[in-house]
Symmetry: C2
Subunit: 454 residues, 2 copies
């Protein structure tokens, strides 16, 4: 009996255990953006370490991180075969607005084929497929078809500062021949996608400060500059009316799409209607591009929130701030874009107040060659498990570790995800389609086998 076949049978017999573990994992409220969750982050990392030991991995280590621990483990028993780094993240997005959740975000509930909980799809459910595949090999053959290094990040939703810094100094435990990540989506339950690109990111806070304290709006209104209004004017200056980014030079380095690429995206990618219908919103953005092109092959600049001091009192607020999330595509350098943004703001100094841009995190865009060996292996694995080739598509999202890893080590990263478009990641009522947990496990078993076979 071949090792992959034994692992597959073990995985199928262990589905109940795999689901139980995911339900436990989802009960840790691992919101990395919330400092009050630091203890929960450590508890979850410790629980994961125990699970990895139990699965038979070696060198299980919980590394202190800047915000939350990184958990690593390995199974390096195949000299001469490639070393594969598998990356996942156990931290999750905040749950607010809590009132919009139909169920408790940290008490997983199965409704029909879906498991509802924060992090169910992004990314606990997806990396659980890898853990089940790993355990199935080790429990049946005592070894994996490849040398595998597992990295579980606790800071992905806050820019992965610990791992990005570790990559920059080429931290030895991360050395590998290629990397695998399941933190993306499929077009439908039977329709896998191999991601050919991620957008880069530049996160920044734009802050306007004015009076030393909030001022009574009657006593001072009309006589002093208002940070809220100055911020609004600066935010408004970042786009033109049509939806194009109005920062001079912003698009200069963007690599134009070929006609072939546009044709492929139009045929294989989601239509505007299918992308936008779940959000119940009309499309709007850079003229001349489809919604899918806009979020994958064109850069964007999103004001993710606005806030002021004053807390609802009738005042001229002392300060106002906006968070900006810039997404970058092939050709764009985060440092150059941040310089262009600063130049744009310097050219528009608001009267009577002070505006400052605090750049908080950046990662370059990532692109995978369709001819990379890992892409060939992923396509073959999908043919076996899903009965079809994965569609090759770019993603609009960003995974800081992936971009940093590919840039620092020059290694390919295959992004083969098990989420679905309706999973509501980063939103209330996040869920995961449970058949994808088991199909994902089988895809991992087959993919490891193909990578080991070279």
């Amino acid at each position: 009996m071949d090792e992959a076949g034994a692992a597959l049978r073990h995985a199928r017999a262990s589905r109940g255990t795999t689901l139980d573990r995911l339900v436990t994992l989802l009960q840790f409220p691992t919101v990395s953006a919330d400092p009050r969750r630091a203890g929960d982050m450590r508890a979850c990392a410790a629980w994961l370490a125990g699970l990895l030991c139990h699965a038979g991995l070696t060198g299980v280590t919980v590394w202190p991180g800047r915000i939350a621990p990184v958990v690593t483990a390995r199974s390096h028993g195949r000299p001469g075969r490639p070393t594969v780094l598998v990356y996942g993240h156990y931290d999750v997005q905040p749950v607010a607005p809590r009132a919009a959740w139909a169920t408790d975000p940290f008490r997983p509930v199965q409704i029909g084929p879906h498991l509802h909980a924060r992090g169910a799809s992004d990314d606990k459910g997806q990396f659980m497929a890898h853990l089940a595949a790993i355990e199935s090999y080790l429990a049946t053959s005592g070894r994996l078809p490849v040398n595998l290094t597992l990295v579980l990040d606790g800071e992905e939703e806050v820019g992965s500062p610990t791992l990005v810094a570790a990559v920059a100094r080429r931290w030895p435990p991360l050395a590998a021949d290629l990397a695998l990540v399941s933190d993306t989506w499929m077009l439908a339950p039977d329709h896998p996608v191999l991601i050919t690109g991620l957008r880069g990111t530049l996160g920044a806070r734009l802050e306007v400060t004015g009076p030393a304290r909030d001022l009574h709006a009657g006593a001072f209104g009309g006589a002093v500059a208002n940070p809220a209004e100055a911020l609004a004017a600066l935010v408004a200056s970042l786009h033109d009316k049509a939806g194009r980014i109005a920062v001079t030079g912003f698009y200069d380095q963007v690599r134009p799409m070929t006609d072939a690429e546009r044709g492929h995206l139009a045929r294989a990618g989601p239509s505007d209607a299918s992308m936008l219908a779940p959000a119940a919103v009309a499309g709007h953005g850079e003229p001349g591009f489809s919604a899918f092109e806009r979020v994958t092959r064109r850069p964007s600049l999103v004001t993710t929130n606005l806030r002021t001091s004053g807390a609802g009192r009738t005042v001229v607020p002392a300060w106002a701030a906006a968070d900006l999330s810039v997404r970058l595509v092939a050709g764009q350098q985060p440092a150059r874009i941040s310089a262009l943004l600063r130049r744009h703001l310097r050219a528009r100094p608001p009267a009577g107040v002070r505006a400052r841009l605090h750049v908080q995190g950046r990662c370059p865009p990532y692109n995978l060659s369709e001819r990379a060996p890992v892409a060939r292996a992923a396509r073959a694995a999908c043919r076996t498990v899903f009965g079809r080739e994965p569609t090759m598509l770019p993603s609009g999202g960003s995974i800081p570790f992936v971009s940093a890893y590919a840039a620092a080590y020059g290694r390919d990263v295959a992004l083969l995800g098990f989420g679905l478009p309706g999973d509501a990641i980063h939103a209330p009522n996040e869920r995961f389609y449970l058949p994808n947990l088991f199909r994902g496990t089988e895809a991992c078993i087959e993919l490891y086998r193909r990578l080991g076979a070279g």
Copy 2:
């Protein structure tokens, strides 16, 4: 011995009691904007009712209000003499940001001559001067020099919805020949001010709604309209670069100032430097006017806050909102200004999202004739108590009850306040200059006497 003289001696002998009562009153956290304080509002109203009964007023009643109770009482023992309505408010502004307070806002602390607490100056300390004056008369002569109706509002900081509605239907307990309010400021401890005008207000919430839920900024950024950015553009459209309100027709009904009025404001009002120095902010606003003119005789439109859904997550927020506080001057009608604002917004429909203006409260501007009998009485009382005439000046603030009362009943309202410019009302570390509590009491005793003498 004359009745006023006896009241004065009683007031001077009772300073300790008056201060003790103010300290107790300031311990009620009567934040009318906070629904969780509803019980505290009722408790404070009940405590005040007890104090008014103890002082010898009759008809003491706690009326249920829309948000908080209204407390009324009277002493109508002088047939043939005028009936004077004395208005004060026991609700206070919220305390946020709590961390900016050097002391607990609801545990009054005396530091030098100042009593520090939320509401110490606005308005608990100021109306306590009236209560002390009333009790001093009743304790010594058993009657006041006038027929007095006392109204203590619990909703002033949220637009006085209960009393404004009561005034609109000419609620009988409010019938009076004139009204007195101490909820304003002096130029210095020995320099009283009789307020000649209050600005009107128009409060509104500008709300922009877009997608049905917050959307992942990577998956949707660039392809959908962003409510935060649309709101910023609308807020930015409300002023031109120089600081003038850019709503067409906004200034059309404003009565131009005469040269004489401008000269008086320049001589008697605060200079730009003295107004703006405490706020540590440069002046900015409608060109061609001093800071004091801008906040008293010119209208203003202040964005008091900006907020979005998303709570710090990396999303395109589903909604964004701004609160607007418009201040109106003589000649401007709130209804007309709200129509102009709506027209302005309708002419700028943001692409792909929906903008709505919710008008939340409005009151007309108020102006007092310098020749009104109550103005003469107030000037005479100030000569006696402060040794000088009050300076006649407009205020930039608004007191909804005052404007509504004057408009509905056609009665004069004298605003003679005991606050000081450094009191930090509506801000952290609010305080009240205690000598003004006692001098204010004496001013009330003398003013009641003058009004009774006709």
